[in-house]
Structures are given as C-alpha cells and as structure tokens.
C-alpha cells in the first residue's frame, strides 16, 4: 500500500513529526477542516495513528470553533489511495504525499518548499484539495540532528545560516523564476549545500527573530552566484503599478520563525490560497487565531504582559500573516484595536486574568462588530427590498447573501442577478447559496453586464473598505457594476460594517490596491493556445491582476452600516465613531 510506504519513509528517516491537513468534502468542495502538526504514534498495516497538541476547526467560516487539547487521529489505510502530486514530486520526491479517500484527504509533507508559486503544482494541488500545507520548519523535525556534537554557539550559527539560505532561495524565486529546474533541490542534507548562499540575506527583515546574531556575518555583495547563473530576464512588473508590487505571497511554511503559532501558520496558508477569503471572514479568522495565540502565551521573566505580548510576541505572528497576504482594512482596524486593548491592560493584573480579559474582549469584538453588525445590516438592507425587485449584485459578500436571505424569509418576492468575473469566480458561491434558499438567481459574467443589469431595480454591493472620501474600495469590477446600475437608475446600496471604514483616501484604484498572483490569469495548461502558459519566458508580455477597484461616491445611493444608513459622504463620521468605539470597547 503506497500510503503505508509513505509512512515507512517517514519512519526510516527517523522523523516523528509530520504536518497533516484533514480535508473534508462538503457541498462546496474540499475544505480544510483541520490543520495540525502531528506526531506519529504507530503505524500498522491498516491504520496510522497520530497525536497532536493542536486541533483547529476552521474551514467553514460560520461557527469558527476552536479546541485546544490533545487529540489523536486515526486514518484508515484501506480506504486511502495515494496520489503523487506531479509538481510537488519534482521538488521533493520522497516525502510529499497526498492521500485521498472517502470524504477525507490528507496532505502530508515535511520540510519541503511545496509549490512555491510553481503554477502547475499549485493548480494540481488546488484541484486535489484546495489546500497547501507545510509543517513548521522547526528543529526537531529537521534532519540536522547529528550536529548535536557542536557547541550551542555553533549550532545557533548553523541554524541562522539555514534560515538565511531558505530566505535567499525564496527571494530568488520571487524575483526571477519559479521553474523547478532553477530551484535547488531541497530535502535531506541539501540545506548544508545551500550554506554558501546564505550571506545573501543581509537585508534586515522585520521577521527576523535572531537579529542579535546577524552581526556575526560579514557583509557580502548580495546574491552574486544566482545573478551569474540566471540569464537576464525581462522585468515582469507593469511599471505603472510598480509601487504596488510587494514580496510575492507566501505559500509555504519555509523559514517561519518558530514563535509563529500553528493556528497562525494554518490561517496564513488559508488566506494566501483564498481558502479564507473576504474582508469579514479574514478578520474573524485572524481574531480567533490570535485568541489562541494569547491563550497559549506565557509572559517571560522580567517583563510584563502588556509590554511584551503585543510588541514581541504578536509581531512575528502578524508579520507572518502579512507575508501570506496583505492585511485587509478590517484586519488592520482589528489589530489596532487589539493592540490598544493589550496596551491599556493594567500591568499588575495577574497573567491568567489578563489573558482571560483579552479573550473575552476578542469574543465581544467579534460578536458586536462582526456577527451582530452583519445581522443589523442584513435586516436594514432587506427592508429596502420590495416585492418585484430585481437585485443586481457582484461577486461574493457574506452580508449581502445574508440580507437577501433575510428578505426572502420575510416573504419578499424578488429576483437576483449575480454578476461574476475571473479569476476568482466568487459569485458562483453566492449564486449557489441563494438558489439553495429558493431565490431566483441568474448568473452572468461581467462581460454580459449590460444585458444582465437591464431591468435591475436595486444594486447591492459588499465592501472591502469604505474610504474617507466616501468611495468604495471593493473587489475589482465593482465600479463597473455600480456605474451600470447608476446608468440603469437602480440605487446602489453598499453594505459595510463600521470596522471596514478607513480614514485613507483614494481617488482611483492606482494609488492603493493589492496585486494578486499573475498566475491566476494564466489559465490551465490544457487550454493550449488559449492559455498564457510560460508567460514569464515570453518577451513583451506582462500580466496584471489587481484585486480591488475604487467606486466613486456619486454612484452610491446609500451605505448601510450597523450604526445606520447614511450617504457615502458621511463616511468620515462613521470612521470617527467606529475608531472611538474601538477605544471604549
């Protein structure tokens, strides 16, 4: 049995810790139901038994529940079929396993840089499970155990070198190409061979946690070897948007500082792969993960919780999350609030009380600013939907779906037109959910907008953020839909929780935006000429994938918040009140 062989591979290499994702099939596709680092207890011919300290249960965004404690998982082998993932195998032939079975799927790997942006691997993985997962690159799982003979100082230096090597490699991947040929083969023993490369990362990174040992290395011109090896490549950044390109999204757990909590690691990968997507869901998931971080935190000697927790302990977590995907406005607002909560704690409070206080505050925050806020907004929005309305909506917004459901439950007779677009196709989810509730839905691509919008009487839009000048910052394509709705004389209703309001101002989508991975636009390899496969090697070809756009305030008839309905021009008032409330809560 191949699965069993995979397990025995682990055993042969003397490894006990693997990262496992349990992925379950639900009506909406594959979902990560648990992500955890597990220790192998025993493997027999029929079962492999793992135990773990952490079990997390997100995936479905409602009812985000967390349990902390010892669990053990038993995976039946006989219903399990091993599948090797083509892209991943080229990177790490031995330990990359994807196990699928009846209703559950499990990806296990150790220590490899699975699919660091390799398009084929990531697309295959997406098909397989929609999830990518990696174990923490922590020390006990690494194969460098024999170097125990070295002194503590030398060991530290070596680890530092390893980490630097990984970063260097990651950087190389980001800036040059991700073809697997160029990637040095990772795996057992390979990190030592990468050691000469390690001086490359002299750049100070905020994520670095061992800065004190950094001055042990001599400054060397960065990346001389890679520059020599790689042929000169065309810059694939669209120059007009150059200011928006950041470091490319993290899809692996390579080189994660060891302080990063497993919950945060899992969430990071879920956000980077859009498993957790949407401003509201990301904010809630992040707060819940941070709650776990707080719960498992102990204050080191010689410092106090308010001083240490937010500056020392939370920063690496947040930096990791940020490297997976830049924060949404709601997340940024929530973080600002949380830091304020921690900072205003009385330093003399005993640690268990302080931690409990923070956790209670987080729960209250989620309930008041997200859950209940959504209910209030949904009810207000539903009250605007009358019999005979044709509601135009774009992509996916949890609160819009909720509003339409509420209206349906109130017995209103209306129809919904869902407009959707590449590359994320979030509207499919909305369309299916609404149709399940018995609402008449028609689904159309944004290319058919002029036709789809005909006859619309209302336009309901979700928000990523509402800017200080009343403009709406939302999924790319929203502005087009709002413009068309205005043209069709259908009032545009924007639903946004007060946590999504920001004092930042933008006049267009160029000044601030988030660029998604270009690979999303490429298409699958099977499409042949239709696909842009290998675009990085094509000269004169650049791809641009902005995720958001800005809708002018003139198009917006009303912004519905939990504080009330207001015209877009009153956005600063809500922002003020919301920021003020954050200080009070």
């Amino acid at each position: 049995m191949s699965f069993f062989m995979g397990i025995s591979d682990f055993l042969e290499q003397g490894r006990k810790t693997v990262a496992i994702a349990l992925v379950q099939r639900d009506p909406e596709g594959w979902r990560t139901s648990a992500f955890t680092e597990m220790t192998l207890v025993r493997a027999t011919r029929t079962t492999a038994v793992f135990t773990s300290r952490y079990l997390t249960g997100y995936g479905t965004l409602q009812g985000l529940e967390n349990t902390l404690g010892d669990i053990s998982a038993e995976i039946p082998v006989d219903t399990v079929e091993l599948r090797r993932v083509a892209g991943a195998v080229t990177l790490n032939p031995v330990t990359q396993l994807v196990v699928t079975g009846e209703g559950s799927c499990c990806i296990m790997s150790d220590q490899s840089n699975l699919t660091a942006g390799t398009p084929d691997a990531s697309s295959i993985l997406k098909q397989a499970s929609n999830t990518v997962l990696q174990p923490n690159g922590t020390t006990e799982a690494s194969p460098e155990q024999p170097v125990k003979a070295l002194s503590g100082q030398a060991l530290k230096a070596q680890k530092k070198a390893e980490k630097a090597a990984r970063r260097a490699q990651e950087k190389g991947d980001a800036t040059t190409s991700t073809t697997s040929a160029a990637t040095p083969k990772p795996g057992a023993g390979s990190s030592t061979s990468k050691a000469p490369n390690s001086q490359a990362s002299q750049h100070k990174r905020s994520q670095s946690t061992s800065q004190k040992s950094e001055n042990q290395q001599l400054p060397v011109r960065p990346r001389p070897s890679t520059a020599a090896r790689e042929p000169k490549r065309e810059n694939k950044q669209v120059s007009f948007f150059a200011h928006l390109y950041g470091p490319s999204r993290r899809h692996t757990l390579d080189g994660v500082p060891k302080e990063v909590h497993p919950q945060i690691q899992a969430l990071g990968l879920q956000t980077s792969s859009y498993c957790v997507c949407g401003s509201h869901a990301r904010c809630a998931a992040m707060l819940l993960a941070l709650k776990c971080v707080v719960q498992s935190y102990t204050t080191p000697l010689g410092t106090s919780l308010p001083r240490h927790l937010s500056s020392q302990h939370l920063s690496p977590q947040l930096n990791f999350l940020k490297s997976c995907r830049p924060f949404s406005v709601s997340q940024a607002n929530a973080i600002r609030w949380l830091k304020n909560v921690i900072a205003t704690l009385d330093p003399s409070t005993p640690e268990p009380t302080a931690k409990a206080d923070i956790c209670t505050a987080i729960d209250t925050f989620i309930r008041e600013r997200l859950t209940v806020a959504d209910q209030v907004i949904a009810e207000t929005a539903a009250s605007h939907i009358n019999d005979g309305d044709v509601v135009l909506t774009y992509a996916k917004s949890a609160v819009i779906t909720q509003a339409l459901r509420t209206a349906k439950r109130a017995g209103r007779d209306f129809r919904v037109v869902v407009v959707d677009s590449r590359p994320l196709f979030e509207g499919k989810n909305t369309a299916r959910a609404l149709a399940d509730d018995g609402i008449d839905v028609s689904y159309s691509s944004i290319t058919g907008l002029t036709h789809a919008a005909r006859g619309a009487t209302k336009c309901l839009l979700g928000a990523h953020a509402v800017l200080g000048n009343g403009r709406l910052y939302s999924r790319a394509g929203t502005a087009l839909v709002a413009m068309m709705a205005k043209r069709m004389d259908a009032p545009v209703v924007v639903c946004a929780e007060s946590i999504k309001f920001t004092e930042r101002v933008a006049l267009d989508s160029l000044a601030m935006n988030e660029l998604g991975p270009e690979e999303e636009l490429v298409g699958s390899e099977g499409e042949g000429e239709q696909s842009l496969h290998g675009w990085r090697d094509k000269e004169h070809l650049q791809l641009l994938n902005p995720l958001y756009d800005v809708t002018p305030a003139e198009y917006i008839a009303v912004v519905i918040t939990e504080l009330g309905s207001l015209p877009a021009t009153s956005a600063p008032v809500v922002q003020r009140i919301s920021a003020g409330a954050q200080e009070i809560v």
Binding site: D387, G455, T457, A557, V573
Partner: protein, 407 residues
Amino acid sequence: MWRRSASFILDQRNQDDAASSTKPETLSLSPLRTQSSYMAAAEPFNQNPNPNPNPNPMISAYYQTRAAHTGVVTKDWLAQAQAAVGRHPDDVPSPENEVVTSDSGNSFSVIHEFNNWRKQPDLAEAVAAIRALAAVIRASEATTMMELEIELKKASDSLKSWDTTSISLTAGCDLFMRYVTRTSALEYEDFNSAKSRLIERAEKFGEISYKARRIIAMLSQDFIFDGCTILVHGFSRVVLEVLKTAAQNKKLFRVFCTEGRPDRTGLRLSNELAKLDVPVKLLIDSAAAYSMDEVDMVFVGADGVVESGGIINMMGTYQIALVAHSMNKPVYVAAESYKFARLYPLDQKDMAPALRPIDFGVPIPSKVEVETSARDYTPPQYLTLLFTDLGVLTPSVVSDELIQLYL
C-alpha cells in the same frame, strides 16, 4: 415577467385589500364629500384588533390635518379669501376635527391628547406629539424611571402606529424618547424632580419649535436679495416666516406661488403674502418649468428631512427641484431640526405611502386609477442648502448630525 416598479405591485395589493373591505366608492372623488364624511364612512371598518383607531388607513391623517390647517378646499376658498381681508384665518376653527376628538373617553389616551394638540394650527405635529407624551408623564403613576420609560415607550409606539405616514410625528416621538433615555434619575436627587424636569423640557419644546422658525428666518435673510424672485411650493409655516421676515426687513422681492393641488395650499400662502404687500403671482403646478427662467431661487418647506439629506415634502417638490437643478437655480429648504427623521428612502416608492383624496371636480370612472400619494422624496443632489435651527447645512451634513444625535 418582472415589473419595473416594486411598489406598483404593493399599491395594487393595497388597493385590492381596500376593494375587498370597503367599496371603492368611498374613494370616489365627488366634491361634496368633506373630511368628516370620509372619517364617518370609514368608521364601521375599524373593528380590527388594532388598538389605535386611525380613522381611515387609506387616508393619511397627517395630510388631512395639513389640508385642514393650510389648504383651501374648493368651496371654502372664496369665502376664506374674502374673510382673509378682514380677519386672521388662523382664528377660523376647523369644525371637521371636532368629530375625531369628541369622544374623549373615560381613560386617558395619548392619541386623544395628541389630537387635541394637533388641532392648533400653529403647533407643529412633532410638538403636539411631545406635548401629548408630556401629558403621559403627568398622568403617569410610575414610581421609578424605568417604569416611566416603559410607559412612555408604549405611548410613543402607539402614537407612531396611529399615523405611520407622519414623519414629524415619528421624529418628534423618537427625539423625545431619546431625551428621556438620556435623562437618568441618577442625575437628579429623586424621581419626582427628574419627572418634572422631563415635563418642563416637553413644555419647552413648543417654544423651541417657534424659536426654531425665528432662527431659520434670520439665517435665511442673507440669501434673499433685493429684486429676487422666489418660487415657493405649497404652504409651509417656516417658509412663510422667512418671507414675512424678509418683507419686514424691507427687502424687495416677488414670490411665485404654485397652486399646490389638491389641497391648494399655495393659494393660502398667496393670501398671506398679499396681506404683507409682497408681490405674488400664482402658477398652476405644471407651470414650474415655464416660469423657472424668471426665478432666482426655490424655497420649500419639508414634512421630513431624511438621513440621506433629501427631503420628503408635498407632492410636486421633486419635480420643481429637478427643474431648478437643470436650470441651475438654487433650491433652499427651510426645516426645523425636529423634522430630521431616521428614514432612508432609496427612491420614491421606498416609503410608507401617504394617501389622500383628490378632488378632480368631475366624477372619475371607477376603472380609472388615481395616484393619491400626498408626498414625494427629493434626493439630496437636487437640494442646495437646508436652513435649520442648527444652522445652514448642506444636505450631506444632515446625516452627520442625525448619526451624532442618535448615537
């Protein structure tokens, strides 16, 4: 297929309901019918469990009162116009309303109290509501602030449900309730002083309401210049106050009054202005666009100012604002701040319909439908400024003020 307008269906449904319960003839438009006969006709249909006996759900009580106070109804018109020369028309008692309040029952009722106050033509509906709520406080036997609050809440809810079409009634109730919840008994040494404070406050509201009109009139003087022509739609006590003050300040201006069908409230306003020796020209409502090029500014009152910064006002305001906007004439709204309501209509049909009978002078065949809405919604982009007792506001500031008021 889906109909373009949602409320069309809703209107039809209402009409069907009405047709099944009352004969459609009750809505027929013979000039001989007076308000009291409407109410009388509707009386037998009030056996529903609703404890709040709105005389006729098909007719907006608010607009009935307005018509009684400010309108000129066909036959009375000539008589009143003649009488206006001699005496103040405000002194004319409105006998129709006696019917409503004649049966003041044994037990105290906030609605009766409200109706008593409402009869006074110079008293705004919001103030009448607040006075009625004050009477509730006075009659209350509650001994704690909490009990009083619950009692008041009940009273204000029943007032609001009595006439859902009146925005200023709702706004007045909300405003006073807001004040009550903010006044905690803790601030005062005992419950009784808190109670008397509330009553005092309610009494003051009447003065505030009158003072608000004075403030608005003062504020608006800077906008009326010599030689200007002002278009006025309908009858508004605030607008009258504004124009009166301008005339007293020896400003030279002329006023175009629309007729203000169906209540012909514009005729009443032209009467009042003629008494002040202000040159007045009467227009039929449909002449707004024709005469707009002569107009320098449009002045309207408001039944309610909504959260978007737009206004809900007598039917026809929207089209005048549209015409003025397209000809680049400023549209000024004079409204007291107690008319600010927590409403956000998205379009014309997004409000509880306020219906009233329309007199066409000739019998209308029963197959012909009649639009009987009494009011329309003017979106904020067509308004220039709002003169309120809080100051001269742009429409977008209104929602800022409202949010701060209610949070």
